[in-house]
């Protein structure tokens, strides 16, 4: 697959986001498939951040380390990133920022601010200069940028729209003059209908489609995008999003709302998840259906707030004290994020238990061109509910049943009463101490786990049926895994990729894969190999090796291939 990657580096608050937004729109409107990820620091101004765009005429699901174009909006970008340039890669830089001109092949000087000022336009239009300069390497036509400027700035007046057009043309011309004969990436011919979306809005819209009615959360990077999305659309979607004083409160509000009968959720990251675990245990004891998104970031503690890791798996697995039914889903891309939210709510409602959806910063913030979401594919199953009439006056919330599922009467639909407690309780929900009642209730709850296991999602598998190498990964590593498999297959190797999107309980279909042909490697973004440990625990299994990344940066095919070739870490 031929792809073309552009990396733009700059300080926070310096226009990186604006240039990024213009390009994001322009690239997708021209019909290219796109994967765009962000690498940013935990600050509002300054520091060094970058955004990368990888485009192709075919779908792209991950990023690549090597880039075709480097755009330096700050002084450090050139030195920090030039080693990643592909052969013949271009650097667009500004002598005024660099403090010098750089006389090397493929370095193009574009004094962003000066160009704007020379045309008697405000400094802020340096962003449009940069966008025009980048566009010169992609396309012969600036028309698409002009359309975007018109849409973005029409409310600010024609002068602003025209100014942006003018300066972007100047940026474009500077690059064209310097590198006129350069080959540009192939342009797509036929453009299918598609979405451009990142993990956070995909999770949030998946929740809305699944009928979430209540959310409470405390802002925490990188989950805040979900919270703000739901809050921003709460009015027209008839949803309540209540910001809590802390994550303890957020989770308990969710529990209260879910008990009252609505689909309810929260979103957080590791440290906030820690504060929620008490109430998740309560939800398990009182058999209340709750969904929690954990957008992972590197821990322990505050860790690297704006970066990525898959280090919460075992913590999510052991989410609270005691034994209780639970499920953990791990979407690998925005499409899975959208549909798995619906599945998470169905599992929570059917089995009256907490369900965790594990995302991470890489999934949360990365934009991807994907197939359109189909609302008709979203099935809503609220599980066993009874009306007031069916329940009768002697309704028992925790009636002992063969399946372990006790039909729910939502409070307020009496005459029956819905009594639930975190203490051990009898069928009616009142507190008990006897060993017999404890056994009955514990076994009733745990009986549900058998059904949860039977319903576990089968892994997503790509590549060869009779592999010599099997790569096993979970969550946001899906894109990197898929591309790695593709590259190795092109090299003539027989490879299978296994993406696990339900990490607890595991699908039984994993067993023949784990014990089948091929050398097995577990690929994940954490230090200790948490998926590997959990697989080992559940299947008494050990892989032949592992690839792990824990520097806070996302796994990509380059990293995985390098480790595979380099002899790899032995698991």
């Amino acid at each position: 697959m031929k792809t073309f990657s552009i990396r733009i580096g700059g300080e926070a608050g310096q226009g990186l986001v604006s240039v990024g937004n213009i390009l994001l729109q322009a690239i997708t409107e021209e019909g290219w498939y796109l994967f765009s990820h962000r690498d940013y620091e935990s600050r509002i101004r300054g520091g060094h951040n970058f955004t990368q765009f990888r485009l192709s005429t075919e779908p792209v699901h991950t990023w690549e380390q090597k880039i075709d174009v480097l755009v330096a909006l700050d002084k450090v970008t050139v030195d920090q990133h030039r080693q990643d340039l592909k052969e013949n890669g271009v650097v667009i830089y500004s002598p005024e920022i660099q403090g010098k001109t750089i006389d090397e092949p493929n370095f193009v000087a574009v004094p962003f601010i000066q160009v704007a000022e020379d045309l008697e336009q405000p400094k802020v239009m340096a962003n449009a200069v940069a966008a025009g300069a980048i566009w010169a390497l992609l396309d012969d036509d600036l028309g698409v940028l002009h359309t975007i400027f018109a849409a973005m700035f029409s409310s600010k007046g024609d002068d602003i729209v025209e100014g942006n057009k003018k300066v972007s043309q100047a940026g474009y011309d500077l690059v064209r003059e310097a590198l006129d004969e350069r080959e540009k990436p192939t342009k797509p011919e036929q453009v299918a209908e598609r979405f451009l979306i990142a993990g956070n809005p995909a999770l949030a819209s998946g929740a809305l489609a699944a009928g979430v009615k209540f959310m409470s959360a405390y802002p925490m990077t990188p989950s805040t995008g979900v919270t703000e999305f739901i809050a921003g659309h709460a009015k027209e979607c008839a949803v309540v999003m209540e910001q809590a004083e802390d994550e303890i409160s957020a989770m308990n509000m969710v529990v209260g709302a879910a008990y009252a009968g609505v689909r309810a959720m929260t979103a957080t990251s590791g440290g906030g998840f820690a504060l929620m675990t008490e109430a998740m245990g309560f939800a398990a004891a009182a058999e209340i259906s709750v969904v929690v998104i954990d957008a992972q970031r590197p821990g322990p503690s505050t860790g690297l707030p704006t970066r990525t890791e898959q280090g919460d798996l075992l913590y999510g697995f052991g989410m609270s004290s005691g034994d209780f039914p639970r499920a953990i889903l791990a979407p690998g891309d925005p499409v899975e994020a959208f549909y798995l939210m619906g599945h998470a709510f169905n599992l929570a409602d059917k089995y009256q238990m907490p369900v965790v959806v594990m995302s991470d910063q890489h999934l949360a913030d990365s934009y991807e061109t994907v197939e359109p979401f189909d609302l008709d594919k979203v099935v809503i199953d609220r599980g066993e509910l009874v009306s007031g009439e069916e329940a009768g006056a002697d309704y028992k919330r925790f009636a002992l049943t063969e399946s372990g599922i006790s039909p729910r009467l939502l409070p307020g639909n009496g005459p029956g009463l819905t009594v639930a407690a975190g203490d051990e309780h009898d069928e009616a929900g009142h507190l008990v101490e006897s060993a017999e009642e404890r056994l009955a209730m514990m076994e009733k709850r745990m009986a549900k786990m058998k059904l949860v296991e039977e319903e576990a999602l089968a892994p997503v598998v790509f590549g060869d049926d009779d592999p010599e190498l099997v790569l096993i990964a979970w969550g946001s590593t899906k894109g990197a895994l898929r591309e790695t498999v593709g590259i190795l297959q092109e090299q003539g190797k027989k490879v299978k990729g296994v993406h696990i999107n339900q990490v607890f309980p595991f699908s039984k279909e994993l067993e023949p894969i784990l014990n089948g042909p091929g050398t097995k490697y577990v690929v994940e973004s954490n230090y200790s190999g948490q998926l590997q440990k959990l697989l080992g625990m559940e299947f008494a299994w050990k892989p032949d090796g592992s690839v792990r990344r824990y520097d806070g940066r996302p796994l990509g095919p380059d990293y995985i291939l390098e480790r595979l070739e380099g002899g790899m870490q032995r698991g």
Partner: protein
Amino acid sequence: MADTKFPTTLKETAWCPGCGNFGILGAVSEALEGLGLEPSQVLFVSGVGQAAKAPHYMAGNVLNTLHGRTLPTATGAKLANADLTVFAEGGDGDGYAEGGNHFLHALRKNVDITYLVHDNQVFGLTKGQASPRSDPGQVTGTTPQGVSMEAFNPLATAITLNAGFVARSFSGNKEHLIKTIQAGIQHKGFSLIDILQPCITFNKINTFKWYRSRTYDLNEDESYDPTDREAAWKRSWEWDDKIPIGVFYKVERPTLAEAHPALEQGALVKQDIAKESIKKLIEGFAVK
């Protein structure tokens, strides 16, 4: 009492004979019966502690949650189903220690629930340790040298944060307690009722007799204006020789529900999924 919809003799209680909790249980039952409510319309969200067991001994929906978490849980339930009459109920340890942060923010949020605090100034269930309401100097199992901290003043705190309905009552004064609970339910917004509740086993100072000789109803004085925030705040510091009970402070403020446009259409749990809006929203992700 035999024909009440809210009988209080459904279960054997875990309380000591003569416990101050019995008076509160009886008063809640009579207050609800008096307002003509049905048990299925009422939800008690309680925490952990001897007080938090109260809802199990009466008819009503019950969500007996974690220690200190009654207020957020009750807030979530009320936001999800505004048609329920929602109580949060627990002790002073539950609400003012473990749930202290939630208490502050519930006062600010002004969700339309009634918070009943069984205030016995000790931790009863764990056998008599100091609570935030224990007076300085009080010797307990965890404070052998005596409590070194200032006692927490829930009323002053609530008035400071402009809570909608701030009251104190006494478990030994049933009529006053019934009246205060009913006023709390009828108040639109957050109602705090701090209830003096003697712990006959672990608190030998603040006994029924001690309170009976000190409490007086501040609302009997017609010149007392419960809308005067400053006067209410000053009165909330009166303690020791004379202890006021009654409604200290009342103010009408927008409730939390009014901050959520979705709730203009009625109880959230009764609303359908806004399919058309969601469809439109999702179509917004389309590139072309």
